[in-house]
């Protein structure tokens, strides 16, 4: 008995080391490209380096300053509004498209699937430039439409509408991606459930409501979390549109743009690191709340 238990333990120990060997390469990369930079950013955020006068340890000053910085809060609020409005719209469209595909009642569903997904394959930079041309007030599509009699569209690149214009670009880019996540989740629902529903006399809407949606709740939560993170990290689209709308998009339009401009235009690397860390933490909290909300409902069922 003793012998077996001994060999058992060594086998178990060896097993543990083999496990580490397998995840080792990942852990090394993980430590190098994720953990180390985050710690370096935290380290940076505790100092203040000036163009004149050098570097000094300032403790949590940068964080205190960021939390009282009107520009930071303005940008934070802007992406929060973006999140609350754009994410539900985008996910609803994606869900509708996925359900439509899954209903098997469409002609040319393969074509639809590809064409809805295609924008995701277009790099964000190209997509933004393309939409920038469409939004053009003089020579763009909007300009052309406005020159028709009786048409008076709002100018997408004005201060009032630029956030909506960006929301439109992001929705265009990511509807297909989210649709695919939902569609994949819908495909794995066991067909017996549908047969049972048919026997019970449930209509299509009832099937959607009582079978399909509950079954893909996990996918919905995942997609929501990705979208939340994406919203907080909004950068490419506004940063590229800034050339076309230099006054409507400020250097602190989104928190990421603010952090970027602080460090690369203003050489305020330390303060920029603090802003980035705060945004990272805020994103984690909001993503966690979304996940908690999703799984609590699941537990309640």
């Amino acid at each position: 008995m003793t012998a077996t238990s001994l060999t058992g333990r060594t086998a178990k120990q060896r097993g543990r080391w083999i496990g580490w060997a397998f995840v080792g390469p990942f852990m090394i990369v993980f430590a190098l490209v994720l953990v180390a930079p985050v710690f370096y950013a935290i380290y940076l955020s505790l100092f203040r380096e000036q163009l004149v006068g050098g570097n000094a340890f300032v403790g949590l000053d940068n964080y205190v300053r960021a939390l009282g910085d009107a520009k930071f809060w303005e940008s934070f609020l802007r992406v929060a509004v973006f999140l609350v409005v754009q994410v539900p719209i985008m996910l609803c469209i994606a869900l509708f498209a996925a359900l439509a595909l899954d209903s098997a009642r469409l002609h040319g569903s393969r074509f639809l699937r590809i064409s809805v997904f295609l924008p995701y394959a277009v790099p964000a930079v190209v997509a933004t430039l393309m939409w920038g041309f469409i939004y053009g007030e003089r020579f763009g599509l909007v300009g052309n439409l406005n020159s028709l009699p009786g048409v008076d569209l709002p100018i997408p690149l004005s201060s009032e509408f630029v956030l909506a214009a960006i929301g439109n670009i992001v929705t265009w880019e990511f509807v297909g991606y989210n649709m695919l996540i939902f569609f994949a989740a819908l495909r794995v629902i066991p067909t017996e459930l549908y047969e049972a529903a048919e026997l019970d006399g449930a209509g299509q809407y009832r099937v959607v409501w009582s079978i399909k949606l509950p079954a893909i709740r996990g996918a919905l939560v995942i997609a929501a979390i990705f979208s939340v993170i994406g919203s907080f990290q909004l950068f490419n689209e506004p940063n590229i549109l800034k050339t076309l709308a230099p006054n409507a998009i400020t250097t602190f339009f989104t928190p990421n743009m603010y952090a970027y401009n602080l460090s690369f235009a203003g050489q305020q690397f330390n303060y920029s690191a603090a802003v980035a860390i705060i945004m990272g933490v805020a994103t984690m909290i909001v993503a966690y709340i979304v996940q908690l909300g999703g799984s609590r409902k699941e537990a309640a069922r």
Binding site: L51, P246, N247, A265
Partner: protein, 446 residues
């Protein structure tokens, strides 16, 4: 990527021409406490001895110049790197300086950004190599832009004295006189826009480079720098003169809200939507390259003035400097001296469409008298070289001008967007600049 648009032909063309060279190895010497002491004799000795240099530039003429230099001095090997156009390059340079290694030996820096690098001891003071003797070779405006006190932090390569570029076809069609004063300019703006509401005298959505040059022309001196002591007054007499004129255009919707250097802008320059541009002498090259359809439409006149007395300002333009990280500053300085004063090098520069900073070329009858086909045969360099002699003296940029320009849209740009008094936007700009300057360790007075 960043806010500052490419504002020179050099930038506009080089981005395409040399894109392939970008990132082609940034193996500059490490560490280095270069920039010690030396003399003019060292330069010739260094050229004789030879060595390796790295040169960052985005100018279209750089490649040919380096090739010509290497042919003349076979012992010297120059590695040319296109590290990006203006702010992109400055960001990399700033990072290399911060890291203590990775900076090139010789680097292209525009005049507005030079004080920032000069201040932080990132550049070698070239007066030790007798560069002071070269002063007479350059127009006073450009020479002033590369010197801080007695120190010489670079040699000018090109210049951009401002002039009035106007679409003659549009002017003739609407019976407009070429304005010689700003009051006439405003009157022409009204006349044109009233006659055809789709046409504008010019475009302006708020551009820091343009605004500072206009203030410069009006005699304003909003930035005064003495070491780390900075005075900012964006409401001085010159500023008020400029806003007094420009407010009339902005508030009454007489300028097109087309941002510069965009596709819309080039098209508006081509079809007569934008009837004039007040900009630097490098503009003809840009027009020829990017607005070919308007060939024959455009003409050049001296910039309008406030009181009839000729006065203009520099807009854009820049030169090259030697970095303190250079391990062979004497050789780097020798290359720089050749690059921006040797006739062979300047000839290549002129062929690429550049507007020189060297007085010999600015007064060369062959250069002055050339008839531009694009400008309907006009001898445009007569106007432009004249302008280079009328640049108002005493202008200074901030030692953190790149940052200042980056937040111009956040502040003055908002006044443009709302079509209200630009003075309010300038006050906001000043407030943020003062706060930033103090934070960065300068002593800023208002």
């Amino acid at each position: 990527m960043n806010s500052t648009p490419r504002r020179r032909i050099l930038g506009a063309v080089a981005g395409l021409a040399l894109a392939g060279l970008a990132l082609a190895g940034c193996s500059a010497p490490s560490g280095g406490t270069g920039g010690g002491t030396g003399s003019a004799d060292d330069l010739d000795a260094a050229l004789e001895e030879g060595g390796e240099l790295t040169y960052w530039s985005w100018t279209p003429s750089a490649e040919a110049q380096v090739a010509a230099f290497e042919e003349a001095y076979p012992n010297v090997d120059v590695e040319l790197v296109n590290a990006g156009t203006n702010t992109e390059e400055y960001t990399k340079l700033q990072n290399a300086i911060k890291a203590g290694s990775g900076a090139p030996d010789v680097v292209q820096i525009e005049y507005y950004a030079l004080p920032q690098f000069a201040l932080s001891d990132s550049l070698v003071d070239l007066s030790q190599y007798g560069f002071g003797e070269l002063e007479d070779q350059y127009s006073p405006g450009t020479w002033g832009s590369v010197t801080v006190g007695d120190a010489i932090y670079g040699l000018p390569q090109d210049s951009g004295p401002m002039a009035l570029f106007y679409n003659k076809t549009v002017f003739d069609e609407f019976g407009l006189e070429v304005p010689t004063t700003w009051d006439e300019y405003v009157a022409a703006a009204e006349q044109l826009h009233t006659a055809d509401p789709t046409k504008y005298i010019t475009n302006d959505t708020g551009d820091a480079g343009f605004a500072t040059s206009m203030i410069w022309q009006a005699g304003g001196k909003p930035f005064q720098v003495e070491g780390t002591e900075v005075t900012i007054d964006l409401a001085d007499e010159g500023v008020q003169k400029w806003t007094g004129v420009w407010n009339q255009l902005v508030e009454n919707d007489l300028v097109a809200s087309v941002p510069g250097w965009t596709d819309e802008w080039f098209r508006a320059l081509g079809d007569g939507t934008i009837a004039t541009l007040v900009t630097g002498a490098w503009m003809p090259g840009v027009l020829q390259a990017s607005v070919p359809e308007a060939s024959g439409d455009w003409a050049v006149a001296p910039i309008p003035t406030y009181d009839g007395e000729p006065a203009t300002a520099e807009n854009g333009g820049g030169g090259q400097s030697v970095t303190s990280q250079s391990e062979n500053p004497a050789l780097a300085a020798a290359f720089l001296r050749w690059l921006n004063s040797d006739p062979a090098s300047i000839e290549i520069f002129l062929e690429s469409g550049g507007f020189p900073a060297t007085t010999d070329d600015l007064s060369d009858p062959e250069f002055v008298g050339v008839e531009s086909e694009y400008f309907g045969g006009q001898k445009i360099n007569e106007v432009l070289t004249q302008a280079s002699e009328e640049v108002v003296e005493g202008w200074q940029y901030l030692p953190f001008q790149t940052y200042a320009n980056s937040i111009f849209g956040d502040t003055v740009g908002q006044a443009y967007a709302d079509k209200r008094d630009l003075a309010e936007g300038l006050a906001e700009w000043q407030e943020q600049l003062v706060a930033y300057g103090n934070e960065q360790g300068f002593t800023v007075a208002e």
